[in-house]
């Protein structure tokens, strides 16, 4: 919500660069956003429309981009998505992410490093999925760990 609103002045999950998925059957809700992964799969853009910014953020050149969708397909967790001719990916809000400010649970943190985790193992599993399905897959894996903790506590 905060992401879409502060970037566009409008609201709607398609305009957000951080997407929330609700996996009701697992009791897991969570945001999926660019993790500045070690591999930087999206930078393999054939048009070189994507570049790495000084904070580690992905910068998209709308003039060079021809909406081929390679970046969307390449991202293993669905953190890049094209909607109505625009590539949506986290730009880190100039180091002060609005989503971090907005979250009253303290669930989102900004680590500040340029290299996030490796997504190599997920990449193999999510290759043929849509961005929405990739986000679900990613969240399920994160959720499994959380659910183990819950079960231990309430077994």
């Amino acid at each position: 919500m905060a992401c879409a609103f502060f970037h566009t002045g409008k609201t709607g999950n398609r305009l957000a660069r951080i997407k929330v998925a609700n996996l009701y059957e697992l009791g897991i809700d969570g945001p999926v956003v660019c993790l500045q992964c070690e591999e930087k799969y999206c930078l393999k853009c054939p048009e070189k429309a994507l570049a790495l910014g000084p904070l580690g953020q992905i910068i998209v050149s709308p003039t060079v981009c021809n909406l081929c969708g390679v970046c969307e397909k390449a991202c293993p967790i669905g953190a890049i998505e094209i909607f109505k001719d625009i590539v949506y990916v986290c730009d880190l809000c100039g180091r002060k992410p609005k989503c971090v400010d907005a979250c009253t649970e303290g669930a989102i943190t900004f680590a500040g490093g340029k290299n996030g985790p490796s997504l190599e193992t997920i990449k193999k599993e999510t290759n043929k999925m849509s961005p929405s399905q990739k986000r679900e897959y990613h969240l399920k894996i994160l959720g499994e760990g959380l659910r183990k903790k819950w079960s231990r506590k309430h077994a």
Binding site: G12, Y24, T104
Partner: protein, 598 residues
């Protein structure tokens, strides 16, 4: 042309013909009702044959959101479902939060109006461009989460939001619910049965039309102030931790926690079934509706059961109200009722009423096909819930609701049904909260607190009471004085919350919304001119319209009352000992304020 806030369109779906039509929403039609609940009521009033069979082909089922649903406004998550109620035969509606309302808003449809009856079990998939009619005979009997998952899988999109019915809705149980976001329930007045009668298993939505505001900066400033008020609210932490389950100990401490079917207001074992006990023993995580910062919902695990909730009504309904002291059992019932799609309040009333009548010897097991139940009997309760949902044996009669069922028994037994206008009363004994008593009596969908939610009565703010309602007594829960004024104010704010839409736990109970603030929000949001005076007028008109709707269906002044118990039987012990409700006095005053004829 509605450019801001509103989606600006309505979607009409004819299930019989399997056709749909997109219309633009006429600004002059919607402005005087704002949106959400009031717009749904107006639509029903204008288009429904008032004497139609609620479970017949002619009933109209309306899903509605408001101009600020799904916007930056905090807790703007709600949607209302409206139809003629199969439980009460009068105006029926029920709202829910979660994620469905915000996603429906993104389709650009402010109302989805469903008529006719499908010839086969189907679900509807609504997107910006219209509707897909999807046959789903194999979904028959599926529970809510199974249905949600199946639709998401079939449509290859995990971001789809689904409002579905379970077996109870398919079997047209009079108090069947619609459930979205897995566990968010449109519980009251049997909207799930209307859906079931139309052979409609689910309404799925996925939109992509962003919501634009007329004056973004002004809206942002107003909402910042709202957020500040919420986060600094003295109840914020408690609500975040316990949600509405905080009411278990709160109501018990003032002697109005329904116990053994309202025979008592103090529950000796409250600490075993309280919100605090739930939070410390079984809660694993806070859950939230769309764009909220209170996160009052909770996910829990207990034995093999896991689910979201319960809200106070379900917790109390399946513990003290029916004499059950096992919290794990109540949590199991919450999960089960949500998944089969049945209203926990009406279900617990059927059960509690039978238990009391059998204890008093007013109903013999042979009159109920051999069914006998006593307080807190877990296995029996499990069986009865299933018999109702699947309409097995005597469950077929129980599925008509406590009031209709009571017609077969003595007058004494009939008097013990805790209902107004056929809708079962919520968990709050009105003998110790008089404004709530008045609200149950006058609410246009039958015994219900949410039509006004006069929480102010419990906040002990005497000076503020004098200022707002002319008497300190408005903040005295045991007094009748000033309550008609309080309810007449509070019902407007409740309606506003349902029209914008916004959560009433926040907008109303936390005292966030008032006419001035909403005037600014609506101006900044929609660009339309809504002065506080104009708002007061149109809200009064909308309340008059509900009243007229029910009048047309045969309701009169004498239906605006409370069950005999609350009027004539004083509570025997506790902090509300000796109290009854002088309901006629309050209703008289309320009618006077509304200039309604007898």
């Amino acid at each position: 042309m509605l450019e801001f806030g509103y989606g600006g369109r309505i979607l009409r779906i004819d299930l019989t013909e399997r056709t749909f039509q997109i219309e633009s929403l006429d600004p002059s039609w919607v402005k005087p009702v704002i949106g959400g609940r009031a717009a749904n009521s107006k639509r029903l009033f204008e288009e429904l044959d008032p004497h139609c069979d609620p479970l017949g082909v002619d009933n109209i089922l309306i899903f509605g959101v408001g101009p600020l649903t799904g916007t930056f406004l905090t807790a703007s998550a709600y949607y209302t479902v409206t139809a003629k109620s199969p439980l009460t035969g009068i105006l029926g509606d029920s709202a829910a939060g979660g994620q469905f309302g915000a996603e429906m808003k993104l389709t650009g449809f402010d109302q989805i109006i469903i008529t006719g009856q499908a010839d086969n079990l189907i679900y509807l998939f609504v997107s910006d461009t219209g509707v897909k009619f999807v046959d789903c005979p194999d979904y028959k009997g599926k529970k809510i989460l199974e249905t949600t998952e199946a639709i998401r899988k079939e449509q290859r999109d995990v971001d789809i939001q689904v409002a579905a019915i379970g077996p109870a809705g398919e079997n047209c149980v009079s108090f069947a619910a619609i459930v979205s976001s897995g566990n968010r329930v449109n519980g009251r007045t049997g909207m799930g049965a209307v859906m079931g009668s139309k052979n409609l298993k689910a309404l799925a939505v996925r939109g992509s039309k962003p919501v634009e505001l007329a004056d973004t900066l002004a809206f942002l400033a107003e909402n910042r102030e709202i957020d500040r008020k919420i986060l600094e609210h003295p109840e914020y932490k408690k609500r975040h931790n316990l949600g509405t389950t905080m009411l278990m100990t709160d109501l018990n401490s003032i002697g109005i926690l329904p116990t053994d079917h309202f025979q008592e207001g103090v529950c000796g074992y409250v600490d075993e079934i309280s919100g605090q006990k739930l939070a410390s023993s079984h809660k694993v995580k806070n859950k939230s509706c769309f764009n909220c910062n209170v996160h009052c919902s909770r996910y829990y695990m207990v034995n093999d059961v896991e689910a979201e909730g319960p809200e106070f009504e379900t917790l109390c309904g399946f513990t003290s109200r029916i004499g059950n002291r096992s919290l794990p059992f109540a949590l199991e019932m919450n999960a089960y009722l949500n998944q089969i799609g049945m209203d926990s309040i009406s279900t617990s009333e059927v059960i509690g009423w039978i238990m009391e009548c059998q204890e008093k010897g007013l109903i013999h097991p042979k009159d109920l096909d051999g069914l006998s139940m006593s307080w807190g009997e877990e296995e029996k309760i499990r069986q009865v819930v299933d018999m109702i949902a699947f309409r097995r044996g005597i469950g077929d009669e129980l599925a008509k609701g406590a009031k209709k069922l009571s017609g077969r028994f003595s007058e004494e037994a009939q008097k013990l049904v805790m209902h107004v206008k056929g809708l079962d009363i919520i968990c709050g004994d009105p003998r110790g909260i008089k404004a709530y008593g008045l609200t149950y009596a006058i609410a246009s969908r039958g015994a219900d607190h949410l039509r006004a939610e006069p929480y102010f009565e419990l906040t002990n703010r005497k000076e503020e009471a004098k200022k707002r309602f002319g008497t300190e007594k408005a903040a005295d829960r045991l007094a009748e004085e000033g309550k008609a004024a309080l309810v007449s104010y509070s019902e407007k704010i409740a309606l506003l919350a349902d029209c914008l839409t916004m959560c009433k736990n926040i907008g109303l109970c936390m005292d966030i919304l008032n006419l001035e603030r909403v005037s600014s929000l609506l101006k900044a949001g929609t660009g339309l001119d809504y002065s506080p005076e104009y708002l007061a007028k149109i809200l009064a008109d909308a309340i008059d319209l509900d009243h007229a709707f029910n009048k047309r269906l045969g309701m009169t002044r004498k239906d605006d009352t409370l069950p005999d118990r609350f009027v004539n039987e004083p509570l025997a012990k506790g902090p509300t000992k000796g109290a009854t409700v002088d309901i006629q006095k309050m209703v008289d005053e309320y009618y006077k304020i509304h200039s309604w004829e007898e």
